[in-house]
């Protein structure tokens, strides 16, 4: 019975969505291999750690199946979070954690040049050291795309949810960090009320008072526009747009690598154009990350 009922309603929806998805599927599967292969430029580096551990996947839980000893050359192909896909001269492929690659040297070392470690431990020759000019060492590999927790990252994104007055709210936000303390924020929130649904676009500034603290407090200030969509036209005026402003404060802590937890309070003032502007308190919790 249920199958018959659903079959009645499927064709109308399916004709639109299936067509769209088929186009997407063919576009992605057809074009992506070309894009992927075009970007697959390898970077050769020389191993200076005692050995590299090649995992079968980009995670500490994947087993180590190969090791590459010091002095060998590997090619770096991709990065996924903290892990790099490398391939050695014997066509062995695996994922290596970032901390093992920070000491590798770019390129291939000169044949006669000992590695820095060898130079440090080898006995000195008896000829005059002042006339000897050792060859400059190869540069160390560095990936600007890899962001440490204490690096100067610039972009943040976050998702929070909570209560806006007595209603549920979801907020998605992005921030550009102007310095360690100050950021410019752009946020969109969705309030699902009993009588009115609201979609809000907000622009503001956030100041982290002590960004170095483990639990960092911040204050925020901003303005925005609210699109109101009444559920019933009998009691509410029609769809309309109004202005709003807010002040807020919150707490943020680094919970895991590049991953932060947030609790936020904001006091909104809705400028309705009448003498009685409305104040709404909003409490949210959520997470944010930088990239």
């Amino acid at each position: 019975m249920a199958r018959t009922a659903s079959a009645d309603t499927l064709p109308r929806c399916a004709s639109q969505w299936v067509r769209g998805w088929l186009v997407a599927v063919f576009a992605v599967t057809g074009l992506w291999p070309l894009v992927s292969s075009a970007r697959d430029a390898a970077t050769p580096v020389t191993v200076t750690d005692p050995f590299l551990e090649l995992h079968t996947g980009p995670g500490r839980g994947y087993p180590v199946t190969q090791v590459v000893p010091r002095g060998e050359i590997v090619e770096i192909h991709k990065r996924h979070t903290d892990w790099y896909l490398v391939r050695d001269d014997h066509r062995h492929e695996g994922w290596v954690h970032h901390r093992q690659l920070v000491n590798t040297l770019l390129g291939t070392p000169p044949a006669a040049a000992p590695s820095p470690t060898d130079r440090a431990t080898a006995p000195a020759r008896s000829d005059s050291p002042t006339t000897e000019q050792p060859p400059p060492p190869a540069p160390t590999f560095s990936d600007p795309g890899y962001l440490d927790d204490d690096s100067e990252h610039r972009l943040e994104a976050g998702i929070t949810t909570g209560r806006n007055g007595a209603e549920n709210v979801i907020r998605i936000s992005g921030a550009y960090l102007l310095n360690d303390s100050l950021s410019a924020d752009l946020a969109f929130s969705h309030v699902m009320g009993r009588s009115v649904n609201k979609a809000t676009a907000l622009f503001g500034l956030t100041h982290h008072i002590h960004p170095e603290w483990r639990v960092s407090p911040y204050v925020s200030l901003g303005v925005g526009a609210v699109y109101l969509r009444p559920k019933t036209r009998a009691l509410e005026p029609g769809e309309r747009i109004s202005q709003t402003g807010y002040v807020g404060l919150g707490l943020q802590t680094l919970f895991a690598r590049r991953f932060m937890l947030r609790a936020d309070y904001r006091s909104f003032m809705a400028f309705s154009g009448h003498s009685d502007n409305q104040e709404v308190n909003e409490w949210t919790v959520g997470f944010a990350f930088f990239f």
């Binding site: 009922a5 659903s6 309603t9 499927l10 109308r12 399916a14 969505w17 998805w21 992506w32 992927s36 430029a41 970077t43 079968t56 996947g57 980009p58 994947y62 192909h77 991709k78 990065r79 996924h80 979070t81 790099y84 896909l85 820095p116 006995p123 000195a124 050291p129 002042t130 050792p134 400059p136 060492p137 540069p139 160390t140 590999f141 560095s142 990936d143 795309g145 100067e152 990252h153 994104a157 998702i159 979801i170 102007l178 310095n179 303390s181 100050l182 699902m192 500034l205 100041h207 204050v219 925020s220 402003g245 895991a256 991953f259 006091s267 003032m269 104040e279 997470f287 990350f289 990239f291």
Partner: protein, 245 residues
């Protein structure tokens, strides 16, 4: 109104005064600038390296045993192609409480924050069937337009169990079992309803950039029927592929 304006202005003054005090022009602190090539300095053949040699010469006139050659290594930034983003469509079925089972279509985009967490946004759509009441009485409670059931979901997933799938003797595919949770909104019958989703999924990497995923979610929201506000559990199961870039 006056009180609120005072708070607004004082807060703004406080935030901007303290924040702007340490403001640097962004053009001088762009991320790529700190990773400029550091030129290799000259080897330390000055007075610092001469000290050990003199010490050994003073003892017996023998040549220096240890000649430390300390060289600072240059750092050259190389932009490695990263694959932290993931997008793809999915299809499946959703069982909407009181409305039966219907086909589900959707798309999702994810960002992998670390090897443990990834944030994901998804949208889905289905057209609901008829309720039991409608089937028994023949009275339609909703128009065809009102039966469109569209949701979005913003959530976080945790990679719980990494693993491998072995195909024959020579081929193994990486896999991952992950737990997901999220919040979102459902638009149904011209109304937006808050929803919470929990579930789990399984990802199999076909190669380094293409994966197949299967998910099972329970999307909980207030029931649209009767205005009772009781929670409605909508269980959905879907499969799809994603590409990493």
């Amino acid at each position: 109104m006056d009180r609120w304006l005072r708070v607004l202005l004082l807060s703004g003054l406080c935030a901007l005064a303290t924040g702007c005090a340490s403001l640097h022009l962004p053009s001088f602190h762009l991320p790529f600038m700190k990773d400029q090539v550091v030129e290799t300095p000259e080897p330390l053949d000055g007075p610092e390296t001469a000290l050990p040699t003199e010490a050994t010469n003073a003892e017996g006139g023998t040549p220096a045993v240890i000649h430390p050659v300390v060289q600072r290594t240059a750092v050259r930034p190389i932009q490695i192609d990263s694959q932290d983003f993931e997008v793809g469509p999915y299809v499946g079925v959703i069982s909407i409480q009181d409305f039966g089972v219907t086909a589900l279509y959707g798309a999702r985009a994810a960002y992998h924050i670390s090897e443990d967490f990834f944030a994901e946004a998804s949208i889905g759509h289905t057209t609901t069937g008829r309720t039991s009441y409608e089937r028994l009485t023949g009275v339609a409670l909703y128009t065809p337009q009102q039966r469109d059931f569209t949701y979005y979901d913003l959530g976080l997933s945790y990679n719980l169990l990494p693993g491998e799938i072995f195909l024959g003797r020579r081929r193994a595919l990486n896999s991952m079992l992950y737990l997901s949770g999220g919040v979102g909104a459902v638009r149904f019958a011209n109304d937006d309803r808050f929803s919470v989703s929990v579930g789990a999924g399984y990802r199999v990497m076909l190669n380094n950039w293409l994966s197949v995923r299967a998910d099972l979610r329970d999307r909980v929201m207030k029931s649209p029927i009767g205005g009772l506000g009781r929670p409605a559990h909508n269980v959905e199961s879907y499969v799809g592929f994603t590409v990493f870039f």
